[in-house]
């Protein structure tokens, strides 16, 4: 069971668990922001996995930066990356090279976990092969259903699409393939009538 209470939702909305060490020949661990604390807890349970671990850490978009602590954890391979987009090709390579015994862990924001799951699926792993644990910000990755552009770190509802500028409301409908929630124009029927943005995904 997830430690974060997301409240009741619909069936396409992903659910997350708690990371637990699984035996494996190697471990790919991807974390952002507060997810660093879940990596600490994971390593505390199974210190023997550190040597075989490839840890990738991305400071949170909300400013949380645990990179000093992450660098000191003693992972066999450690990489600090500025954004998921910048480190994606590296993750895809590790997933592609991965042998049967590769274990994959993702923790932090939904955006981070969703993208790791998407890339794992594209590499041929089943989506539930990735262990997840939500930590920190509730910010969402949202696809505009109109222009198809994805806006990262959406914290308010409604928000303005960073690509086409339409005012979008954020649905719980979620696509694993896109690793994104869906955004739909809120003032299509009454142009200009946009309710004030509420901080729903802090």
């Amino acid at each position: 069971m997830s430690k974060t209470d997301f409240g009741p939702s619909i069936k396409s909305r992903p659910v997350y668990g708690v990371l637990s060490p699984r035996p494996g020949s190697s471990h790919l661990i991807v974390a952002d922001g507060e997810g660093g604390a879940a990596v600490e807890a994971l390593f505390a349970q199974a210190p023997e996995m550190k040597a075989k671990a490839h840890l990738i850490y991305i400071p949170g978009a909300n400013g949380t930066d645990m990179s000093t602590a992450m660098a000191a954890l003693g992972a066999g391979q450690y990489n600090r990356a500025p954004t998921y987009a910048s480190v994606r090709s590296r993750i895809v390579k590790v997933l592609g090279d991965g042998h049967m015994g590769l274990q994959v862990y993702a923790t932090g924001t939904e955006s981070l976990m969703g993208q790791v799951q998407r890339d794992a699926m594209e590499a041929g792993l089943p989506h539930d092969a990735v262990q997840t644990e939500h930590r920190g910000s509730l910010a969402r990755r949202v696809q505009c259903v109109h222009c198809k552009g994805i806006t990262e770190n959406v914290t308010t509802d409604p928000f303005v699409c960073s690509h086409c500028g339409l005012n979008l409301f954020v649905r719980d409908h979620y696509s694993r393939r896109l690793a994104a929630f869906q955004g739909v124009n809120i003032d299509a029927e009454d142009p200009g009538e946009v309710p004030p943005a509420e901080e729903r995904f802090k």
């Binding site: 069936k11 396409s12 259903v145 109109h146 649905r171 696509s175 299509a188 029927e189």
Partner: protein
């Protein structure tokens, strides 16, 4: 009757010249067997129905065929993402092509013909002026993939579901006449995931039971069901992608124009197990009828009034007509004298 006399030259967009003939109104698949409506696992065998009805044949080809195919081509020109097929779905696309070509040629020999010599097939579609020789199961012999090829020649949307891990996965589709859902967003989802936005039905167990039933669907034993919603103006492409373009139309409905502009939108959905791929094909055929034409059948007028009036708010909101419901009820109430209605959906003779 020549081809040009039967098939309308009309539009589903812009000037909206779409119109149902008296015959089309009479055979409109009115979807309400009773005076109220709630979701249920409403599936029945898709067997040939009354001659002249939309159930007479496996696929109904009607007076709007040519115009609908033109409209599909227009939508695809604007947005090619309306037709997508994940790489492993090509075989299911061939299964679908075979099903449609064989059914059309058998049921409408005056318009379509299919001749085969082994895998060398010759397809003629007279209404659309198509004459195509190709090798079955060889993609390089068609101008595009098999699903796209055949669904550019068949009315209604189509999705193809792969079956694995005791679930169905929507992994290919041609979707240009949809009631406000996005193939581009939903492609790759499982049965409960793509149905996630539907209110109430999950809690009622409708989707659990429907999925269980579909996993057992047999080749040669297709089933059918209805779905319905409301659309202002005869617009086939009510996509979420284009919602900013068609959404404003909902606000311009008035007491004076509602009869002509408000349409009941009915989907005749059929489900076929496909023989080679074991996928399930899901044709979603959309029929539109204006309120003004519907109320020419007194039974339908009475019943539609009662259904729209009493529908739970959650459903009216989900179907996108809550803001116009008072106008609709007002208009329809003129045609409801309170008399009882006969069971079933056929109009009274």
């Amino acid at each position: 009757m020549s081809l040009d006399d039967f098939f309308h030259d009309e539009t589903f967009f812009g000037d909206y010249t779409f119109k149902n003939s008296p015959r089309a109104i009479k055979r409109f698949p009115f979807p309400f067997p009773e005076d109220d409506y709630m979701y249920s696992v409403n599936m029945e065998p898709h067997v040939p129905g009354r001659p002249g009805s939309v159930f007479e044949h496996t696929f109904d080809v009607d007076e709007h065929y040519v115009a609908e195919m033109r409209d599909r081509a227009r939508v695809l020109r604007d947005d090619p993402l309306r037709c997508q097929s994940l790489p492993h779905m090509t075989l299911a696309g061939w299964d679908l092509l075979e099903l449609i070509m064989e059914s059309f040629a058998r049921d409408y020999p005056q318009w379509f013909s299919l001749t085969k010599s082994g895998n060398q097939w010759h397809w003629i579609n007279r209404p659309l002026n198509i004459d195509q020789k190709f090798t079955f199961l060889d993609e390089s012999t068609l101008p595009c993939g098999p699903m796209e090829y055949i669904t550019r020649q068949a009315q209604g949307d189509f999705t193809l579901q792969d079956q694995r891990n005791d679930n169905l996965w929507i992994e290919a589709g041609m979707v240009t006449t949809q009631a406000d859902w996005s193939l581009d967003f939903d492609i790759g989802m499982s049965f409960h995931e793509w149905h996630a936005p539907v209110p109430k039905a999950h809690e009622m167990g409708v989707f659990d039971r429907a999925l269980k039933f579909l996993l057992q669907l047999q080749h040669g034993a297709p089933v059918r069901r209805f779905n319905w919603t409301m659309t202002v103006d005869p617009l086939l492409d009510t996509s979420p992608e284009n919602y900013p373009k068609w959404g404003p139309g909902k606000t311009t409905l008035t007491k004076e124009n509602i009869g002509q502009r408000q349409h009941l939108r009915v989907e005749l959905q059929t489900l076929f197990r496909l023989p080679r791929s074991n996928a399930i094909a899901f044709p979603i055929r959309c029929y539109l009828c204006s309120f003004e034409d519907l109320v020419t059948q007194p039974k339908w007028a009475r019943r539609l009034h009662r259904v729209v009036r009493d529908l739970p708010d959650e459903l009216a909101t989900y179907k996108g007509f809550i803001r116009n419901r008072p106008l609709m009820v007002d208009y329809l109430s003129q045609f409801d004298d309170g008399a009882p209605t006969s069971p079933g959906w056929w109009p009274d003779e």
